[in-house]
Structure formats: C-alpha cells, structure tokens
C-alpha cells in the first residue's frame, strides 16, 4: 500500500479518534488517504488552531492529540502549539508534509527546515528519509509523546515518500534504546520521604501538572488525606486535588492565595509532586521557602534540583510513587495531632485573607463575579479552557475545579489564543461534557477563526469573553510598575463580537448585567452549537493578590 495509507493504519492502531489539520501541496497524498482512511478529520482554519485543538483534546482526554499541516508555512504555523505542548508536557503528535526529497535544501516552494526549526521545542522528531521508515516512526512518535514526561513529537514526511508504495506490516516492537523513562520510583527514597513527612511539623504538598498527566489525582487525594497534609496546586495542577476541601489551600504562586504562599514560606517540608519550581511559583529564588527541606517527585530527572536543590529526589511518575508513599506513610502511623498548630496558623491566613474583591454597587459585572457566575451556571462541572492574562488568573482563582482535566490552559508558554481552539479540541474529545472557554478580548482574536470550524462541525463550545477593552494584564503591569503610563494596551470596542460570531455561523450574545448573568449564562450554555458571548466587565480591575515579579511570597500585595 501507499505509505500514506499505512499512516492511516498506524493512527488507527494507536487509537486515534480524530485528527485536526489543514491540507496543502506537500501533504496532498496524506489527504487523499483520508478519503478512504476511516479516520475523523476536522478541517481547521489555521494550523495554530489545529495544534491547540490537538492539545485541548489531549489535555481533556489524556490521550495523544494529533495535528496535521503541510510544509513551509503550514509547519511554521505549528511552532506555537508545539512549543506550548513542550512547556506544558502535552502529548501531541504533529505530522507535517515536506517538499519532495529532490527539492530538499534548494529553497523549494513552501520549503522550510521543519525539523531544524522545531528541534528546540520538541520532545523528539523524525525526519523520514525512506518510505519504509514511516510506520515505525509513527508508532515511536506516539510512544515517546505519551510516556515518561509527555510532550510533542513531530514527524516530517516528504511528499514523494508519502506516496511511495511500501510493504506495510504492523509494527509490534519499538527500537528506542536511548529512551527508557523511569516511572516506579526508588523504594528507599520513597521510604525516606515517608519518614520525613512523618517528622514534619509544617508540611505542604505542592502538586503540579505532573499529577494530572500521570492520572494520579486519586492517589494524591488519598495520600494527602491519610494525614492532614495541606495541599496547594500550581496553575497546571488545578483539579488534581478536589476544590474546595478542608485541606485545600488554593493555588500558589504569583496570583495564588496568601494561605498557599505563606504556607510555602513557613513550611519545614515541601513535598513537590509533578511540579517544576517555575519562577511564577518561587518568585525570588533565594527567598523561596527558606525554612523548608524538599522532597521532589518527578518523572523527568532533569527537573529535580534544576531550580531548587532537592533533599529527597524521587524519579518516578506521580501515580506509582504516591501509591507507594501512601503505604510507607500509613505503616509509620504518624500522629496527626502534631499538625494542629500548623493548621491553626493556616486557618488564620485562610480566614484573614480569603480571595475577595469589591463588588460593584450597580449592575456592572466584576470579572471575578463573571467566573463565579459561570461556576454557578455550570454547577462547577464544566471543562473550562482559558487564554492567557487576567481572565486566566481569575478563572484559576474563582472556579473551584473538583476533578483533574477540567481546567485547560496554557501555563508555561502563556499562549494568547489558546483557549478557543483548545475548547474545540476538548469538546471533540468529551462530547458529553459542557465545554466553556473563558477568553480575553485580546486573546480570543488570535484564533477566533476556529469559530468557523466549530460552526461547520457543530462543535458546541461556549466562549465567554471577559471583555474589558484592554490587554488587561499588560495594562495592570503598566499601572502598577510603569507609573500608570498606558502604552498600546487599549483595544476599545473592536471588533463587535456579536457580529463576529454571527459572521462565523455561531450564536453571538452580549451580557452586561450582573443581576441576570447566571441565568443568561445558562441560556447561552443551553443554546445548541458554538456560542460566543461578549461579557462586558469592569474595565480597569486588577488581579490580586499578587507577588510582584522577582519578589518573595512575603511581599504579596493586594
């Protein structure tokens, strides 16, 4: 069969349900194979939308997302989603067309050195040089994408090789001698960690996206509640521990709660699980958690002691390690009473510094209230995606995620324009669940074209634009740190989002009254098909609390 037909077979063998992509010259043979390939393909309007949709699909389902693009500009349009998937450890396989082999290196039409350009931002990539290599490359790509620390893998297939005839046989073995991720965790280290936790007077569990990736939220919850361990999650980890909960401190970091950040600051032992001590978490590194010893559990050995030296390093995935840690910890029979004083201190912070904002005196919708209203309208049960900025932080603060894979956002790269296509991918992956996107009025336009895809495919995403007419987070920083001089942050009334939605074949709505907001949102959610809602909120509201960049947790403001 043709190599491209083998690609279809490989994808089906990998359990692929859907491919997001856009055809072009160099992948015409591949698209010919879709005609009879028996695979669902969703035609996106821009490759970046396709890439983020594949990410949203992967994050919502835990399966590998797949995105296709043609050579040259098709491939370069994928750079942002690839980088995003790398930063947030999202399993996505990207398959790009390439010019014919005879044209390689000649600056041929729509030629770009896709392998070279993407090398710094992929977990791995395969340049196909012989058609017979294609099936193995596809299977190895899936294996690498989903195992260990997940990430993006790219397969670049020259047009002439993709249409070549090959002897296709299902690939049953993988030949990756240099790739053996460790997931089990060293038993001795795990025992040491259990002892340290039993000895700790002021412990905190700091959980990140690695818990979500390892499907370990049950193990995390069971372990944390086997004693009264306080738990905080990173932006990427939200939902890994059910919120609200008596042991839940809220998110930590730059816009985290005071309870979470102060607990980290005063902790004597921090147990990091699948988290990477990003600068948005640590703030000023030299003053980060100055009294703490660190247990660091991560499937990627290179993360351990990268930013903060670990006292007990454990290389393994959260699911395996937490299950073993629980057994070890239970066997010690530590006295929960030793944490009483610590909890008194934490409860004091929770009481004194709850997440709060001043509500409007009139009908104006405060952005924080908009998130609370969405929580109410969805019963807290929606998958929520977001773009990047103030709305993202408010969504993270005010929507209590009860389960993992309910909160989908771009954390590491901070990609504006992520939310709408990611919602599209999540909705395709989870058709029975309400999928909402809390978007920024700046961000949403960066991939608004995918509304056409949603309209054509009747993908019923509900996009709520938190419209303040500003690039809000940049405006906030200019207000706070650049003497209030606003430079190119005002977007005004453009575009008319209701008309934009209608032009794309979606339903467009505008909400401006807080008193009817919950009911209005319910109405929007019940409207069939894709809906884009322009929610007018307070124009100049700041996201608080906040640790100014490069400062310590103690310096929180707001």
């Amino acid at each position: 069969m043709r190599a491209v037909d083998a690609v279809m077979e490989c994808l089906k063998a990998e359990g692929v349900e859907v491919v997001f992509g856009l055809p072009g010259g160099a992948n015409l043979p591949t698209y010919d194979a879709f005609v009879t390939g028996g695979l669902r393909h969703i035609l996106v309007r821009h490759e970046a939308g396709g890439g983020h949709a594949a990410e949203g699909y992967a994050k919502a389902t835990g399966k590998v997302g797949v995105a296709f693009a043609t050579s040259g500009p098709g491939a370069t349009n994928l750079i942002t989603p690839i980088t995003d998937a790398m930063m947030d450890s999202v399993p996505v396989v990207f398959i790009t067309g390439q010019v014919r082999t005879e044209l390689l290196g000649t600056d041929g039409f729509q030629e770009a050195d896709t392998i070279g350009i993407t090398m710094p931002v992929v977990k791995h990539s395969f340049m196909i040089t012989r058609p017979q290599e294609i099936p193995r490359a596809i299977h190895e790509a899936f294996h690498i994408a989903r195992s260990g620390r997940p990430g993006p893998v790219l397969v670049d297939i020259p047009q002439d090789l993709s249409r070549a005839e090959i002897d296709y046989e299902p690939v049953t073995d993988l030949r990756l001698p240099g790739y053996q991720p460790r997931v089990e965790g060293n038993q001795k280290q795990i025992r040491q960690a259990a002892k340290a936790l039993a000895a700790a007077q002021r412990p905190v569990i700091y959980a990140g996206g690695g818990v979500v990736n390892a499907e370990a939220s049950e193990e995390l919850t069971e372990f944390a509640t086997s004693d009264r361990f306080p738990v905080t999650c990173t932006l990427m980890g939200l939902g890994a521990f059910p919120a609200p909960h008596a042991q839940w401190l809220g998110m930590l970091g730059m816009h985290g709660t005071r309870a979470a950040n102060y607990a980290m600051d005063e902790a004597d032992l921090i147990c990091a699980v699948g988290a990477r001590f990003d600068d948005r978490i640590t703030g000023k590194l030299s003053e980060f958690a100055p009294r703490a010893k660190f247990i660091h559990i991560d499937v990627d050995p290179a993360e351990i002691s990268k930013n903060v030296p670990a006292h007990i390093p454990i290389v393994g995935d959260a699911k395996h390690v937490l299950a073993k840690l629980l057994i070890e910890y239970r066997a010690i029979g530590a006295d929960p009473e030793r944490l009483a004083a610590w909890w008194t201190r934490i409860e004091g912070w929770k009481e004194k510094y709850p997440l709060a904002y001043e509500d409007s005196a009139d009908n104006e919708i405060k952005p924080q209230y908009m998130v609370q209203a969405l929580f109410e309208a969805t019963g807290g049960e929606a998958i929520v995606t977001s773009d990047v900025g103030q709305h993202q932080m408010w969504a993270a603060q005010y929507y209590d995620f009860p389960k993992a894979r309910r909160w989908i956002n771009s954390g590491g790269l901070g990609t504006m324009g992520f939310g709408l296509p990611a919602a599209m991918g999540a909705a395709v992956g989870c058709p029975d669940r309400v999928v909402c996107c809390i978007a920024g009025d700046g961000s949403v336009q960066m991939n608004a074209q995918e509304l056409a895809t949603c309209a054509q495919e009747q993908i019923p995403i509900k996009v709520f634009i938190m419209n303040n007419g500003f690039l809000g987070m940049v405006r906030q920083w200019q207000e706070l740190f650049w003497d209030g001089k606003y430079s190119h942050v005002e977007t005004g009334e453009f575009p008319d989002f209701v008309k934009l939605a209608e032009a794309y074949g979606a339903t467009g709505l505008r909400f401006e009254d807080k008193t009817t907001l919950v009911a209005d949102m319910k109405r929007a959610i019940e409207t069939p098909g894709p809906v884009l809602v322009d929610v007018r909120v307070t124009r100049e509201e700041n996201t608080y609390p906040m640790i100014p960049a490069g400062q310590a947790a103690r310096e929180m403001v707001g």
Partner: protein, 185 residues
C-alpha cells in the same frame, strides 16, 4: 529494604540537599549516540539553549556502525554538570553518557602547528619537536608543520615553546578520551 514502617526516626535537620554544585574543574563527557542524522545538531542545540558552553567536541565512529561517540569537554566551574548530563539524557538518540574521572582516564588530542622557520631556526624547532615527541610532517623554505599528540596541557606547553618562532596557524582536534582498565568507556 524490609517491611514498610520500620521505625528509624528521621529528623529533618539530617536531610541534605543533593549537590547541584559547580565542580570547578573540566569535565570530559563521553557520549554514545545513535548514528542518525541530526544527532549532533540536537546536542549542540541543547547546549546553546541551556546556555552551556562546549569547550571541545569530537565525533567519530565506534566499532558498532549504528553508534557514534561524541567526546566533549565542559567547564564545571561555569555549569552544573549534573544538569548538563540530565538534559543530554533526555535526548532520545543519546544512549549513554559517562563523565570520565580524570584519574581513570587517558585523554589525547592531536594538534598541527605551522611555524615559520628559515634555515637557522629549523634545527632548534626540530629539537623542541623531538622533546615533545612531535613529528615534522611538512617542510618548506619558510615554514614547517609539526604534528603533536598528547594531553591538552602538553599541547599548550608546546604552543608556548613554538610561538616565539612565529606561529602561523594551529589546529587542534579537541580531546578524545578512554577509560583505563578492562571496563568499557
């Protein structure tokens, strides 16, 4: 290991952070990689984007044609070697990395020196070359080319000696290294 819950109490004060220190010395990393296109670019790119400096780098075949060996030297005073090797290990095509202990390693480098030398100086140059067990590989009326192999220090010492004669140019291969004893590097 015994059963879970064996009670040896642990005090948090006893815990020490894993060392992420800079070692302060030169490290020779011997890396086995799959012999596939782009592997060297992946390694070089990794060093560039993580801000690690490569001092020397050599690549060559091994007795297995599927596998190549990269020998590179990195300054442990500037970079956390632990982090360098962990990042290298993440490359799928990297099979094995060995951070060679100086005392257990034989390291050699080859250098070619083109030195200006007319009749009078030539004899003296050749004497120096002989002391360093160097070989004169080319002579013209105005210059000689001398080949020297040895440790990096020896080559540096030879360079110091011949520089006053008028060093026209010098080429060095970078170090290759092999571990002492019976075990494979």
């Amino acid at each position: 290991m015994g059963e879970p819950g064996t009670k040896e109490p642990l005090s948090l004060e006893e815990l020490e952070a894993s060392t992420n220190m800079r070692t302060g010395r030169k490290h020779v990393l011997s890396i086995l990689v799959e012999n596939k296109s782009g592997v060297l670019t992946r390694i070089a790119g990794l060093f560039a984007r993580r801000g690690f400096n490569i001092d020397t780098l050599t690549v060559g075949p091994t007795d297995d044609e599927q596998v190549s060996r990269v020998t590179l030297t990195v300054d442990g005073a500037l970079h956390p070697i632990d982090q360098v090797t962990k990042q290298l290990h993440k490359l799928i095509n990297v099979l094995k990395i060995r951070d060679l202990e100086p005392a257990d390693t034989v390291a050699r480098e080859l250098a070619l020196f083109k030195v200006s030398a007319d009749g009078v100086q030539r004899g003296e140059l050749m004497q120096i070359a002989e002391i360093f067990r160097g070989k004169v590989v080319d002579v013209t009326k105005r210059a000689v080319i001398i080949e020297v192999t040895g440790t990096t220090d020896k080559i540096a010492a030879f360079e110091d000696m011949v520089r006053p004669f008028g060093l026209i140019e010098m080429m060095r291969t970078g170090e290759i290294a092999i571990s002492r004893g019976r075990t494979e590097t």
